[in-house]
C-alpha cells in the first residue's frame, strides 16, 4: 500500500469474494432443496442403466461412471459406460 493510499484511507483492491460466496450458495442450495424432498436417485439410476446395457453388451459393472455437474440454469448428467473392445470380447468368447 502506498503512503498516499494510507492517508486517503483507501483499501487495497481486493476481489469481491462475498459475491462468489452468494452465487455458489444459491446454486448448491437450489439443488439440495430439491433433492431433500426425494431420495438420492443416482445410485438407483446407475444400477438400472448397468442392467439395461448389460442386456445387450457384456460390461463390467465397475466400469460405469455416473457424474452430475450442477449449474445455475443447467445441470449435466454424464454417464460413461466402458464397453469391452473387440479383442477383449473375442478373448472372452
Amino acid at each position: 500500500m502506498s503512503w498516499l493510499k494510507f492517508f486517503r484511507g483507501k483499501q487495497e483492491e481486493t476481489p469481491q469474494t462475498a459475491s462468489q460466496a452468494k452465487e455458489r450458495l444459491q446454486i448448491v442450495l437450489a439443488h439440495e432443496r430439491i433433492s431433500r424432498k426425494g431420495e438420492d436417485f443416482l445410485p438407483k439410476l446407475q444400477k438400472e442403466i448397468v442392467e439395461l446395457v448389460a442386456k445387450h453388451v457384456a460390461i463390467d459393472a465397475g466400469r460405469v461412471n455416473v457424474s452430475l455437474e450442477r449449474g445455475g440454469d443447467l445441470s449435466t448428467l454424464a454417464i460413461a459406460v466402458e464397453l469391452p473392445g473387440p479383442e477383449q470380447a473375442q478373448r472372452a468368447s
Binding site: F6, F7, G9, Q11, T14, P15, Q16, T17, A18, S19, A21, K22, R24, L25, Q26, V28, L29, E32, R33, R36
Partner: protein, 272 residues
C-alpha cells in the same frame, strides 16, 4: 404452557451455546421464568458459559434414568432469579437420551417455566434431532460464511420434516434467524456475505445480528453470559434480539462499518 425454543445451527462453533446463554439470560431478565437445557451430552459446555460449572451435581441423563429428581438437577442462576440451567452429562454418550425421556423432562418443566431453551449440539445426529423435536420455535444461529449458511439451510429442512410439529402436521416450528460474528467492515470490503444475502438465501425472519466482538471471549472466560455486558456491542445486540423475540420493535444496530478516522487507522482501533 411453556414455549419450547431450540437454538440450533447444524454447523459447530457458530455460537449456539453463547447465544443460548445470552437469550436465556435476557428472557429471564425480562421477568420470564426460563430454563436452558444443554443437549450436548458428552461435550457439555453450557455450564462453563453460564459460569455454573462448579455447581453441577446431577444432569439431564440422571433425571431421565431416574437417578435424580428434576429439581435436584436444576441449577438456579445467582444473577437472575428467574433463570435455571439443566446441564448435560459429561460422562455418558448421546444414546443416553431418549425421546420419551426428553418428553418427560420437557413436560415437567412446562409446568413451572414460561420458556424452555434447548441448546442443541452440532450436527444432525440423535442429540440435535432430540433438541429440536419438541420445539415450538427455533433460533437458527448462522455465521456469514458459506458452510454455516448451507448447514443452516439443511437444519431448516430438518425442522420442517422431523420436528414433532411436522410429524403431527401442526403449525410449523416458528423460525428465527440469528446472524452472529458479523463484521460490517469486512462486509463493506466485499470479503464477507452481506446480511441481505444471508436473508435472501435462507428466507426466514431476522431476529438479530450479533457483531464480531472481543467481549464474547471475555464473557466466556469469566462465565458471564455476554448479554450481561451492557457496554459491549454484542451484549446490546443480544438484548435487542431478546426484545424483538418478545414482540418489541427494535432497529438493527451494529450492521454498518464504523467510519475510521486517520488516528484510529494509524493505531488500529478495535471493536469493543
Amino acid at each position: 404452557m411453556a414455549q419450547v425454543i431450540v437454538v440450533t445451527s447444524g454447523k459447530g462453533g457458530v455460537g449456539k451455546t453463547t447465544s443460548s446463554a445470552a437469550v436465556a439470560t435476557g428472557l429471564a431478565q425480562a421477568g420470564k421464568k426460563t430454563v436452558v437445557i444443554d443437549f450436548d451430552v458428552g461435550l457439555r459446555n453450557l455450564d462453563l458459559i453460564m459460569g455454573v460449572e462448579r455447581r453441577v451435581v446431577f444432569d439431564i441423563v440422571n433425571v431421565i434414568s431416574g437417578e435424580a429428581k428434576l429439581n435436584q438437577a436444576l441449577i438456579r442462576d445467582k444473577r437472575v432469579d428467574t433463570l435455571s440451567i439443566l446441564p448435560a452429562s459429561q460422562t455418558r454418550d448421546k444414546d443416553a437420551l431418549t425421546k420419551e425421556g426428553v418428553k418427560g423432562v420437557i413436560e415437567e418443566l412446562s409446568k413451572d417455566f414460561d420458556y424452555i431453551l434447548c441448546d442443541s449440539p452440532a450436527g444432525i445426529e440423535k442429540g440435535a434431532l432430540l433438541a429440536l423435536y419438541f420445539a415450538d420455535q427455533a433460533i437458527v444461529v448462522t455465521n456469514p460464511e458459506v458452510s454455516s449458511v448451507r448447514d443452516s439451510d439443511r437444519i431448516l429442512g430438518v425442522l420442517q420434516s422431523k420436528s414433532r410439529r411436522a410429524e403431527e402436521k401442526r403449525d410449523p416450528v416458528k423460525e428465527h434467524l440469528l446472524v452472529t460474528r458479523y463484521d460490517p467492515a469486512r462486509v463493506e470490503r466485499g470479503e464477507m456475505l452481506k446480511l441481505d444475502d444471508i436473508q435472501d438465501i435462507l428466507r426466514i425472519p431476522l431476529l438479530g445480528v450479533i457483531p464480531e466482538s472481543e467481549s464474547v471471549l471475555k464473557a466466556s472466560n469469566t462465565g458471564n453470559p455476554v448479554i450481561l455486558d451492557g457496554e459491549s456491542q454484542a451484549g446490546q445486540a443480544y438484548k435487542d434480539a431478546v426484545s424483538r423475540f418478545l414482540g418489541e420493535d427494535r432497529p438493527m444496530r451494529f450492521i454498518e462499518a464504523e467510519k475510521k478516522g486517520f488516528l484510529s487507522r494509524l493505531f488500529g482501533g478495535r471493536a469493543a
